[in-house]
């Protein structure tokens, strides 16, 4: 073969290939292959529904719509930064999927044994702290009644708020009222937070001088003024706020004697909110005192027992949380002040735990107000959402004692029965 033949064959082949559909077909196939990775997920298909529910990510308990595919949430219709991705919270990388003892994974049986032993050992020297008192199945509410943190203020009626560092304008109902120019915000805090930036009046104070600032704003206080603080556990600041009036009465964390607790049980909110460590430590009897946290997410505690996240079916992520036990329906308690004898635990199967007709019926029968509605637990699915608009479920003293007995407490906790109280309040409970 001559050199000329090689060139002819090569050029002819190249020209023929270029004129044929082969390269274009190959390019097309490569394009299709490279853009259809089998690991790119395909969204679920199925029957779509919009379920109404009540958000539990903060105390406002806004009505939200949950879009579901075959009963699984795929979207949340809301006007809130927190809640708009609420159905994806359960898959956060900080999600706890197994009990942790000193940071190491232990089995549920081991965790129960550790908790049981700690309860036995602590005697009366233990307390329960609820970080999300707006949930259902409240037990400690029976002792102290509804106490509202700043997020529970009815912004539909409030016209003026004096806020000591509370992030009012990061809170959807308040933002709505502010944007419609129905709410005046006077913000007192050292930094230029988002709320301070948009408040009609901003008063800059040095950190720690909030009490002095409280004196300065007294002339601004009218009978319609609501005064709130950022909360927390700073007893001095809290006292200053309460003196000015307007805030709901709250049981102060400072009532718990210092260095008095051998065991502190914390029920965290659905976002896994944490507490200031130094203030917790000031109540513990020693460095060996035990902190037990029930939380969907990792928190700093001696023992962490995972609970279901908001909108999460109990067995979807954790796998080991048993189904909700059957709870008994008892007489509704007239509000506003609950009594120890009133028992309202409701067991009513409903989609996502919400049964609005029943809620309405019970509200009417018991003459509950908007803030004091009813609560539901879903006994079949174990989903943790599903409160109606505002509820405190209370139990009788005997039930309370029984629930907090060493024999029953681990099982109760395991079943995700919630305690409630003011967000910033710890209640010391005596065993039966």
């Amino acid at each position: 073969m001559r050199r000329r033949d090689l060139i002819t064959i090569g050029a002819g082949g190249a020209a023929g290939l270029a004129l044929s559909p082969a390269p274009w077909k190959a390019l097309d196939d490569v394009s299709i292959w490279s853009q259809n990775f089998p690991w790119t997920p395909i969204p679920a298909r199925g029957e779509q529904k919009i379920e109404e529910a009540v958000c539990e990510l903060c105390a406002s308990r806004c009505k939200i719509g949950i879009r579901t595919i075959d009963g699984h949430p795929v979207g949340v219709s809301t006007v809130c930064t927190r809640a708009v991705g609420a159905h994806q919270l359960a898959y956060h990388k900080a999600r706890v999927r197994q009990p942790l003892h000193h940071g190491s994974a232990v089995s549920l049986e081991q965790a129960k044994a550790i908790l049981d032993e700690a309860v036995q050992k602590a005697g009366d020297r233990f307390a329960v702290l609820d970080m999300a008192p707006w949930r259902s199945a409240t037990l400690t509410a029976a002792l102290h009644g509804p106490v509202a943190p700043w997020t529970t203020i009815d912004y539909e009626k409030t016209v003026k708020v004096i806020s000591f560092g509370a992030p009012i304008l990061e809170h959807a109902p308040a933002m709505r009222a502010w944007s419609q120019q129905r709410l005046e915000v006077i913000q007192i805090e050292p930094g230029r937070s988002r709320t301070a930036n948009f408040a009609q009046t901003r008063i800059a104070v040095k950190p720690g001088e909030e009490a002095a600032a409280a004196e300065r704003v007294k002339p601004l206080v009218t009978k319609d003024t609501v005064i709130v603080s950022a909360g927390g556990f700073d007893a001095e600041t809290e006292t200053a706020i309460v003196v000015l009036g307007g805030t709901p009465q709250r049981d102060d964390w400072s009532r718990v004697p210092g260095h008095s607790l051998d065991l502190l049980i914390i029920r965290h909110g659905y976002l896994g909110e944490s507490l200031p460590g130094r203030l917790i430590e000031s109540k513990l009897s020693s460095k060996d005192a035990m902190i037990v946290s029930f939380s969907p997410f990792q928190v700093q505690s001696t023992l962490v027992i995972p609970t279901a996240a908001f909108l999460e079916k109990a067995d979807e992520v954790t796998g080991w949380i048993p189904a909700q036990p059957e709870l008994k329906l008892a007489d509704a308690t007239p509000r506003p002040r609950p009594t120890l004898e009133g028992v309202v635990l409701i067991s009513q199967p409903a989609v996502h735990g919400v049964d609005m007709p029943l809620a309405t019926k019970l509200n009417q029968e018991s003459k509950l107000t908007r803030r004091d509605g009813c609560a539901y637990i879903h006994p079949e699915t174990g989903r943790q959402n599903g409160l109606t608009n505002g509820c405190r479920v209370t139990v009788g003293q005997s039930t309370l004692n029984a629930v907090f007995s060493p024999e029953v407490l681990p099982g109760t906790v395991e079943a995700s029965v919630d305690w409630t109280d003011d967000r910033y309040t710890a209640v010391t409970l005596r065993r039966a």
């Binding site: 990775f37 997920p41 969204p43 809301t78 809130c80 930064t81 708009v84």
Partner: protein, 242 residues
């Protein structure tokens, strides 16, 4: 729905800067609605995708927030002009600048052409934490790596509305805004709120001098905010924030 009804539409929005508190609900709602995978911590333009992004601006003492997404330019749409694949198209029926990932070859000419930096490239495979695939929005297909993404005015919701025979719908960012700072609608409908607000003396558009006729309007009663809209470079010294 008739074709005549379709052709009359020109979707756009007016964002009230005086109401925006920069909470970010629109950004999160956008990501959730459009199946954008969670970005790693401290994500950059290379590792995270934000079809809607809220920028802070300041005059030194006050801060305001500008939600910025695709402006859906009406005239000489820059990204459409440069796309060699015809993956970008200004839909004459709705006024939406659409992006078709199936056609996109990832050349990123459109990103260079966009004056608003409102386009993002999928450098990596989208990855969701284990089990989270179950929460994906069935109305929007996840995109693959190697394509450009941007705001498409929630076309999944638009198609769903059209399937119902309706011409009005609400994008996710509009729905989620706690202060109702975003007004969305048909700019061709002179009776609509969005058309009325777009014509007020306090409304403005970002980089209007380029003549691309964006369909996203802003409004503010404050002159310094309106002045900031004409800047095409970085903020002047002393006015940077965030």
């Amino acid at each position: 729905m008739t074709m005549a009804a379709k052709k009359q539409r020109r979707y756009g929005m007016v964002i009230d800067i005086d109401r925006c508190t920069g909470c970010g609900a629109c950004m999160i709602a956008c990501a959730v609605e459009n199946n954008v995978a969670p970005a790693p911590e401290a994500a950059t333009d290379r590792t995270g995708i934000t079809p809607m992004r809220v920028y802070p601006i300041s005059d030194g003492s006050r801060t305001r927030f500008l939600p910025v997404m695709c402006m859906h330019c009406e005239h000489d749409t820059p990204c459409e002009h440069v796309c060699p694949q015809q993956a970008v198209e200004l839909d004459k029926a709705t006024g939406v600048v659409t992006q078709m990932p199936q056609r996109c070859l990832g050349c990123r000419y459109c990103m260079a052409a966009c004056p608003y930096h409102a386009r993002y490239f999928n450098w990596w495979d989208p990855e969701w934490p284990q089990g989270m695939e179950r929460t994906l929005n069935p109305g929007v297909a996840p995109r693959m790596r190697g394509v450009v993404e941007k705001c498409n005015l929630c076309h999944g919701r638009l198609h769903a509305a059209e399937d119902r025979g309706e011409t009005t719908y609400t994008p996710a960012c509009v729905e989620s805004c706690p202060t109702q700072a975003i007004t969305f609608g048909d700019l061709n409908d002179s009776q609509s709120d969005v058309a009325r607000l777009a014509k007020t003396n306090t409304s403005f558009r970002l980089l209007a001098k380029l003549g691309t006729e964006p369909k996203v309007y802003y409004r503010s009663d404050e002159q310094w905010v309106r002045d900031a809209s004409t800047r095409s470079g970085g903020a002047p010294k002393g006015e940077q924030n965030g």
